[in-house]
Structures are given as structure tokens and as C-alpha cells.
Symmetry: C2
Subunit: 193 residues, 2 copies
DNA sequence: CACAGCGAGCTAATGCGATTAGCTTAAGGC
DNA sequence: GCCTTAAGCTAATCGCATTAGCTCGCTGTG
């Protein structure tokens, strides 16, 4: 076998870094090739298409995000776990906006797509965190969806520059986390919607 | 003046309808031209580029969404206004996913971009609705951002098929609205974060 | 009623980015 | 030291956005 300078994994890693710099929409095979010091067609020796590349970036991103969130929640519970997990996710998205966009641009290609377990790991972390609130089992799915909605929505809006710079966005995010925490505590005690 | 079959407005309208069918990412000048019964280059007599077209769709979408939300909130207050406004927005996004994507893909081109007043109208409706909760003035910005985050996040995730079909998404949305309503009421009485 | 101009639409051509075909060559296993 | 294999290259194709320049019908005017 000849020298293995580049691999699908290393190409994906480089593409992920690139996408965080220039934005997911501005990813091009030519730009990536230039970064890697090779000609554009040579990329096809490692990834089968640009869609494939985007898909690999998405899996990478989802895996990294899953790790970061799990580590943040690790050893904490209740409000602390929520705050740590949410902050970890926001930090990840801020540092890797392109990767995050890629992760959200992807649809699983089939039942054995590695993207599926990767995203399930993220969901599992959130579920573990939520379980600490002792919600009514029937409520958990709704709480989960609400949580995902706020976090995803905030991250997306922030990444898109959707918030005016007047008031601190950091402050808004802690306020938001607190808001969710209060609601979950209340919901747990009430058991009602 | 020759016959005015097509105008920038009518082309934009057709493009908006198209984008809702095929998805924003699959919009192409060729496809739109075909729909309009003209050849691709003729489109450039009405819009200056595909980016221009996308921008016009975004303005249209933001304007329509603003109308829909304003009308829903009209004559209601408090929980009712929140529920009606949120439902109106979700309905709009479900019926016009392509338009909504376009609206979020756009950055204002300058200080006199008509997109700016259009989006401000949306924000103004939410602000009017929130004022009914009598929040502490310092909290309003955070509440607004939180509200936008949940609604945007939910709409986006739903449009992307991010929710598994197991449990009713409608139910989750009413739960979410209720969750926000409870939180806002509590925040109003407490005045605390 | 003839006519002059404008502008919508058309065809032909350009350019860029993704992708494919086929060649070349260096490296690792025998 | 040879032989296979695959990484990388050049040349070519394709699709899609965009530009250039022509044409012709409508409309307002004399």
C-alpha cells in the first residue's frame, strides 16, 4: 500500500475546520483541496461526493457535541446539570458554527446510518439530565422537545446574528436556562401541564 | 410599454410557492422559469440574481408572517394572545417551509433593506403580546429572546423532521406554549429571574 | 392609421464548481 | 529487486447561474 497521507477521517476533520471558518454554505471542494495541498479531483479518493463529505462532518459534529454535553452533565444533577449541559452545547455551537449547521442539514441516509446513534447519544444525555427533575413520564417527551427547541433555537439565532447587540446575549442565555429550570421544577411538583 | 405579464412581485410569488414545494435548497432558476413558462435567462428581466430572488422571498415571508401573527394576537391578551400567536406562527411555517427557510437564510443588505422593517413588525407583535404579562422591564428582552428561541427552534426542528413520530407533535406544542405561559406568569409575579 | 421606442423574451455563449475517466508513480509486501 | 495498489494528477463533462445581444409585439403619439 502506498503512503497514506490523507484518510477519509483526516479530510473530514479538515473540512470541519474549514466549514467553521467560512460557513457551511461556502464549503467547496476546491477550497478544501487547496487547504489540503492537493487538487480538487483527488478529494474523491477519500470521499465519494460533497454530500458525503457534509454527511461525515455532520456525524463528526454530532459525536463531538454528544461528548461535550455528556461530559458537562457528568457528575451533576438537576439545575446544575441543565445549566452545565446547556452552556456546553452553546459553547460548542459558537466554536463550531459550520459543524453545527452541517449536523442540522443532514437527514439520515438509512437505518444503519452512524448519524443516528450519534444523535441518539445527544438525546440520551438530555434525557438523563431531565430525569433528575422527576417529571411525570407522560410529560418527559414534551419537556424534551421543548428543551431541544429552546437550545436549538437560541443557538441558531445567535449563530445567524439574530440578536441585536444591545443587551448581553450571555445574560439572556442564563436567564433562559433559569426560566426552563423553574418551569421544570414547577412541572415536577405539579405534575400538571 | 409592452405587455406586463410578469413583474418582480409575481415572479417572487411564484418562486415562493415553488420553494414551499421543493425546498429552499432545491430552488433553481431553471425550475422557476419552467413554472412560469419562460426560458431561464428571461428571469433576469425581473430579478437581478438568484440571491436577489431569495432576498425577495425572505421579505415576502417575513411580511406574511408578521401579518399572520399580528392578526392572531389582535383582540387577545395574556395566555390567549401567546397561544394564538404561537399557533399562528407554527401554522405559517408548516404551510410555508420554504419561505420560512428563505427568511432565515437572509442577512439584511443594508440599513434601508425592507427586510428590516418586516422583521421588526414581527418582533413588535411579540413585544406587544409579552407586555400583557407585565414583566419587569429588564426582563423583557430576555423573555423575548427566549420566546423567539423556542418558537424558532420548534418550527425548525419540526420542519426538518427532527421529531420522531411516536408522540403527537401538536400535543408537544401546546405543552410548550403552556410551559412558557406558566413561566411568564410566575416571572411576572416574582419579578425575579 | 402609421410609427417609434421600450422592454419582455429568446438564443448563444461564458464561467464556475462538482464530478468522472484514465494515466502516473511511489510505497509497501513478497 | 519486482509488483500491486492506491493517491494524486490532468483532461474532459455536466449542470446551473449569469451575460450579451437580437427580435418583435405592444403602446402611446402624431
Amino acid at each position: 500500500m502506498p503512503k497514506a497521507r490523507l484518510t477519509p477521517a483526516s479530510v473530514t476533520e479538515a473540512a470541519a475546520a474549514l466549514v467553521d471558518e467560512v460557513g457551511f454554505d461556502n464549503l467547496s471542494m476546491g477550497l478544501l483541496a487547496e487547504r489540503l495541498g492537493i487538487k480538487t479531483p483527488s478529494l474523491y479518493k477519500h470521499v465519494s461526493s460533497q454530500a458525503d463529505l457534509a454527511h461525515r462532518i455532520a456525524i463528526l459534529a454530532m459525536t463531538e457535541a454528544g461528548d461535550v454535553i455528556r461530559d458537562a452533565i457528568q457528575g451533576r444533577s438537576g439545575s446544575d446539570a441543565l445549566a452545565a449541559g446547556a452552556q456546553a452545547m452553546r459553547t460548542y455551537v459558537r466554536e463550531h458554527p459550520g459543524r453545527y449547521t452541517a449536523a442540522n442539514a443532514v437527514r439520515p441516509t438509512g437505518p444503519d446510518d452512524p448519524f443516528i446513534p450519534a444523535s441518539e447519544r445527544v438525546l440520551a444525555s438530555w434525557a438523563a439530565m431531565l430525569s433528575g427533575y422527576g417529571l411525570d413520564p407522560g410529560q418527559e417527551i414534551h419537556a424534551m422537545r421543548t428543551l431541544r427547541s429552546v437550545l436549538h433555537g437560541f443557538a441558531t439565532l445567535e449563530a445567524a446574528g439574530g440578536f441585536q447587540i444591545d443587551t448581553s446575549v450571555d445574560e439572556s442565555f442564563t436567564w433562559l436556562i433559569n426560566f426552563i429550570d423553574q418551569g421544570l421544577r414547577a412541572g415536577a411538583s405539579t405534575g400538571a401541564r
